[in-house]
Symmetry: D2
Subunit: 350 residues, 4 copies
């Protein structure tokens, strides 16, 4: 079976594995107080063009989100996100588990993105209500770049969100679980330095882009930095051998490896998307990154599933469904080619 269902089917990039082998028996202090983490942080600060950002290394995305939000919000505060956002649908209530409401807004273009105007309206509504203390106080905006639907915020959109949040006293937090796949897109005009300028905090995803595991959380706003390591520990998220995280991010941010390997995945996904479109199929949304969302006849899907593993999204109508296909830094190009060939053949018969 060929697995195109997600971007965490393989282990890690060979350069990372090699560094792990090289450094394996060197003694290092625990809990990310080692030199590898320090060096990774230097590299990430350089990308941010900001020497003052705090960088923390965590193991996974849900963990990073819940630690960040638990650290930032007071009990009565909530976080605004798109209805489709990871926080809201795929974290088993991890955020509510820390006591906070996820306040959802519908993506105006059904592409997983939210607009500054929506945030503004929501805050105005909250503040105009005399009974506002009876409602959760919105305090943070959560966006994913790229979104869960593979789409990208433009720099102008993020600037608008950032300006709105600062004016209204909200934090802007960007989930970059797949950030590399965004950075690697041709259409993308948002750099890591832009995020460090516009967001209060964001994370650079490693798990889905070349690392065995690991996310680098960058905290820009000094108000969010205080006592952060306590919170990491309290949530069971302080890795004993933090060196492993340092080694991985040090490797990913040397010589542009992070974006380089992401680009290969994006190119493969775009190739897939182009072929599918060419064959006349439609999409939930057109995505410029490594996840694509084609709509196929169920009969075709049945055939495909004999050989390919994909992610079922939702039923479109009685005879069609939407699926997600994912490429990753580790996807072999011949898998994509094979899929395209099979699809052409099946579609021709169809």
């Amino acid at each position: 079976m060929i697995n195109l269902s997600c971007d965490y089917c393989e282990g890690c990039h060979e350069k990372i594995l090699q560094r792990m082998v090289e450094t394996n028996m060197i003694q290092a202090p625990g809990y990310s107080l080692d030199d590898y983490c320090a060096s990774a942080t230097d590299l990430i600060r350089k990308e941010c063009r900001d020497e003052n950002v705090a960088v923390h290394y965590l193991v996974g995305g849900t963990q990073t989100n819940l630690v960040m939000i638990a650290a930032a919000l007071r009990p009565h505060q909530g976080v605004i996100g798109a209805t489709t956002c990871h926080l809201n649908v795929h974290e088993t209530g991890a955020i509510e588990g820390t006591g906070h409401k996820v306040i959802t807004v519908s993506s105006p273009n059904e592409d997983g993105k939210i607009a500054a105007a929506q945030v503004e309206e929501l805050i105005e509504l909250h503040r105009s209500d005399e009974g506002f203390v009876h409602c959760v106080q919105p305090k943070m905006v959560y966006v994913s770049q790229p979104t869960e639907l593979g789409t990208l915020y433009t720099k102008a959109e993020l600037e608008s969100l950032s300006e709105t949040c600062r004016r209204l006293g909200l934090y802007l937090y960007v989930d970059g679980a797949r950030l590399g796949y965004g950075l690697a897109c041709e259409q993308n005009d948002v750099t890591i330095a832009d995020l460090a300028h516009l967001a209060d905090a964001f994370y650079i995803g490693g798990t889905k882009i070349g690392a065995m595991f690991g996310e680098a959380l960058v905290i820009v706003n000094p108000a969010l930095k205080e006592d952060f390591r306590y919170i990491i520990k309290q949530r069971g998220a302080l890795l004993a051998k933090g060196r492993l995280l340092g080694i991985q991010f040090e490797t990913l941010f040397q010589d542009g490896l992070y974006v380089k390997i992401a680009k290969e995945a994006v190119d493969l996904a775009q190739k897939l998307q182009a072929v599918i479109e060419e064959l006349g199929f439609s999409f939930q949304v057109k995505s410029p990154t490594n996840q694509i969302f084609p709509i196929f006849p169920d009969a075709l899907l049945e055939k495909l599933s004999e050989k390919y593993i994909y992610n079922y999204q939702y039923r479109v109508d009685d005879t069609h469904s939407c699926i997600r296909l994912c490429t990753s830094w580790g996807t072999r190009p011949e898998f994509v080619d094979e899929f395209c060939e099979d699809l052409r053949r099946l579609a021709a018969r169809g």
Copy 2:
């Protein structure tokens, strides 16, 4: 100013006050272990036609909801409610504060009610997803009777919800903050005994219907009874002088006082609604209970607000808004008459 904004503007029914005076200096054990509570529980069990229900007395509605839900759910479980439900909009995230997600569904008829089919669909969707452990597990259905929009579930609708919940392993919990105003309606066909038969737990609201404060939580499902008083205490909800709650519910459930005083309020609200309709105004929804939701021109509202306090609901269009008017067991009939007269006069000028 005449206050028609809510049903908790006055103190309590005179019979309750009188009983408080009579019993004031009698010594009683604390924490609802007194004879007044025991007697109130007897009366409520009679209404339930079930000697085995557990009855607990709490101070307020949000408190009752959060204690019940914290006691019933495991950390990864959530509660299904209408988007407009009290849990979701007016409890400052109290449920999320206990760690649980409120899973919202839109009321199909925009009347604050949800349907058994919606619950079924949601559960099917959850269970069919192979990645279901990444999503909150729905475990309880929360409905209000009457709803936050003053509407009522029919017995058939509750039977359907109950049957669905039992079949799917969900709890059905009914918020009866205004239960008396429902029981007092002509259209109503749901008794307290029906609730004790159909729900796993429900509460009988006192605060809004004659009591100074207090809600009587009835737990029917044995699985939800265990150690309940610990949870009450842990949430700071175990009233030291629990006798006060016992005295109030004992009084309300003697000689049908609860429904009798609710009926007076409903009659006044229905009179108001009839006059407003007769004058040609429309409503967000037609309500058979003590809360009504007329839509008025803003200019008219400005005039009304010189003399009346009402509850602003939402902007309908550039020149109209929806408000809520509430009557209660304590509303003086002449206030309603005066409002009707003023409205006729203002509408005539229009």
Copy 3:
């Protein structure tokens, strides 16, 4: 049976009941936004000699503690208290329920009090540890005045705690569930104004001193005031008819009623303690307030329990136990006389 087990066996002081009757049908806005609360706050601010303190009205003591602590602490922070303190032993883990550890220190004199030096030592230990992020960060000191053992902090002791807390960046929070019984003692040299000067927050207990229910939480430190009403609501602690709390505290703080009725209770308890001592019995601790802790032979206790309800504390040895006897604003003097007579008689037989 005569109940001397606690100070919440009766309803409320007659003046409060009378005010409730007088104001019962007057309409007032909900949630403590009424004139009664405003007036009570004026009176309390006068006692504090500080116009800037925030005053919030809550229903009970555990509730007040958990709301205050949930509002003040970040997730990784804990509250320091005596091993015997209410937070630690009698709140069913309410503080842990909000996510915070109660860090206990043993009372050096076994009288329920803790010393500034203990706080200092604990903080030094925490900060000197390189691995401090692996430990809960102490951030608040909790003391009760009077303590759970009826003893009192002197002004000098509180000044020392206050100075230590401010120097070390901790909050000092004083639980005054029985504050009136402390204020009414001859030995006492701590006023409400002193508390407003020395503590970051404290509460004035009503439930145990003349009120039906209710505690007035005074927040002095501006950092703790922000958004406080949201937190009250979120914890289910915002009483709908907040007027009831305003009426009670307004009455208690008019013409010195609060301390006057507390003094009567303290005098009765001291009379009891003197007689018990005179008869040769010993005490867990000598208390100057309304709770006393005599040690009696079990045989004697068995006799006493035929007529009196007391609070069992702990087994002292094979044939003796310690109990608590409590008087309150509502204790009838003849009950105390009767107890003294019975005890003399039983002891004579002994």
Copy 4:
């Protein structure tokens, strides 16, 4: 510098690294649904001599503890542990962060162990109190094998704890962060199969014994198995590439590698302990495992710290301190030899 401060200074055992290299580019499903985890589980079930235990793979110890406890306890319940236990002192309040109190008892022999009689006494005290609902309900007993002081429970002690817990309706949970170092001791008479027989749940530590990271949580009691993966996910503890955990535990439990490498570490620690004792130094406690706790003069420690990293424990008197020295699967024997030589030399001068 030679690091003897802890047992997580190195990467992982070479066989694990080799397996990671071999399997790196093989596609596998995420979230521990892969074949490596299945195979590891088979091996662990064999060790348990129980085909029905559930095995879950987590990343770290604090995480494992908080997930297990959050899954097992209802809100009002607490976990009993020794005052010195990891839960109580070194998890930054992670357990309280899930809402539960850690109820501490002092180790009777100051060796980090607690006795069945203590549990029994605590439960009797709780249940005899009429006001028990005002206190946290003890529901779980937490012990570490080996303890945080390197000592071991005997099989008889664990049987007694197990029998007591079952009779009283408590769960027995064993933290095996260093289990291998216990299994490898000559004195040890407790096998993994014994734990599977006596405990309701326990975990087999990987992080400190040969793995890069990872703990294998074994759940024996069916009541604790339900919906466990939801809780893992909700706490941010479900590793995307769960294969990494499977590969590590599969390797550790093939051909007895786990105990074999632990034995090397224990032998080194025991050699260290023997030399230190021979030189006339005393210990906080004599430990049979890989952690030892010598007491040294401060002047000597100053010298040692020029070359060795150790863990400072506490001040013994004005001129002596207790430290912890740790060996691990990865400690080079020559490090220990060097330490012994240096110590002999320094002690001779001393």
